[in-house]
Amino acid sequence: MSAIGDEVSSLRFGQPLRGFACRCRPYVFLLALLGLWQWASTFVLDDSERLLLPTPTAVVEAGWELMISGDLFRHTWDSLRREMVAFCWATVAIPVGIAMAWWRPVEEQLGTVLELLRPIPPLAWIPLSMLWLGIGDTQNQFIIFLGMVFPILVNTVSSVKQIDPVLIRAARSLGASELKVLLRIVVNAALPQIVTGIRIGLGVGWMALVAAELVGATSGLGFLINDARTVLRTDYIIVGMAAIGVIGLLLDALIRVAMARMMPWYQGAK
């Protein structure tokens, strides 16, 4: 009787505990690193060196300060807004990509130009774009746009080319016109890989954004960390870097969740 009782209680209390321990396992090394960092900057470094590498607790404190003052939120919002505006422009790559994959002459003409432009890193456009557009939102958005547009375009073109021709034939034999084939079949069949392109594009855009803000902005997370450098606030720099990383991660997670919602048929379809 008591043995059963023990088993029940171990089930009741042991299970969640074990589950919690399992979930913690991937973070063990991370926590050890943070501990090492804390120890090193407290006990190994002298005062002037600690200015260059503040302790994790000091960074958390600085993060709290920036949150209370609203600076962190303001800069994050500015960066995100630029990313979103640029993304809206970059979605033009979807219809252009479909047209390139569908009509050979379009690919012949556009392909040549785009293949020439594609290897130029978005960051190489910064000097010229600063002269054209000045410092501020428009220039930043232009750089982000360049970072996003090519991954989306390339993925759209290849996704349309990979559509099983039998699906197109099936649609045609069921009476679909050319326009219906494009709108009802091609767009849907290509959608999963287009979304992959969007995920990559948002990531590249986010990286380009920070670089663009480093040199050509008066707000945003890139500006925040570069501005902190001039006053030697390394704690702010690290807070800014962490924010950039976390938001990049969240953007990607958001797209993945949206994809699972919008395309329930895709889970396990291929």
Binding site: D164, V166, L167, R169, A170, A171, R172, S173, L174, G175, A176, S177, K180, R184, I185, N188, A189, L191, M263, P264, W265, Y266, G268, A269, K270
Partner: protein
Amino acid sequence: MSHVVVSQVTKSYPGRGGRSQPVPALNDVSFEIRHNEFCSILGHSGCGKTTLLNMIGGFERPTRGTIMIDGEQITNPHWSRTVIFQDYALFPWMTVAENISFGLEMKKIPRDERRDRVRRHIELVGLGGTEGRFPHELSGGMKQRVSIARALAVDPKVLLMDEPFAALDAQNRGSMQREMVRIWERERKTVVLVTHSIEEAVVLSDRILVMTRHPGRVKADLEIGLARPRREEDPQVIALRNELRDLIHESELQA
């Protein structure tokens, strides 16, 4: 009057590489299919039977010769000739009901009638209760039933089947063939079935065209008068199977 008339059709493809000698796929093929006849085109791979089906479907055009349906020459795909493909070709982002409804939407059939016809065809192929499922949630046999329902729902004049049961395992294949007989007896259509399986042709057909390869040509044209359903062990069925096997074997030796 014949329904499908194939007359002196030759099809060759441009040769690849430096030597641009065209590769012949079909050579001077002629036959006629009657209304509501279940006609199988039987042959090994490479005999041009799928090419022939693609031309009747309007996906490809003959190099020479003509294919007519009800006296009209085929130039393009059209809902009057729907196709059932070997790998189903269901639209993975559409549910079962949406797949079946697609052709009806293309025909601009009003919503109420559409819903009615979808329901009727889901019942016809025995898939009641799966309306809201996606293709990846279905077994191969069920997918092929959806594909049959989708092809029949638009009420085509001719149903084209391209090795429709080849991707199924042996057990499912047998039951789908029996299902096909049942469905066809309820919804009489002119059917052109392309297959390499003697068994399948024997179970299903009113008529069997045996093809040879290099280049593709019709070698024999057999009327099958046997009553359905046909039993494997029926002596007449066995005799027919042997006859077909010999015909195919001969053509192998010649090739």
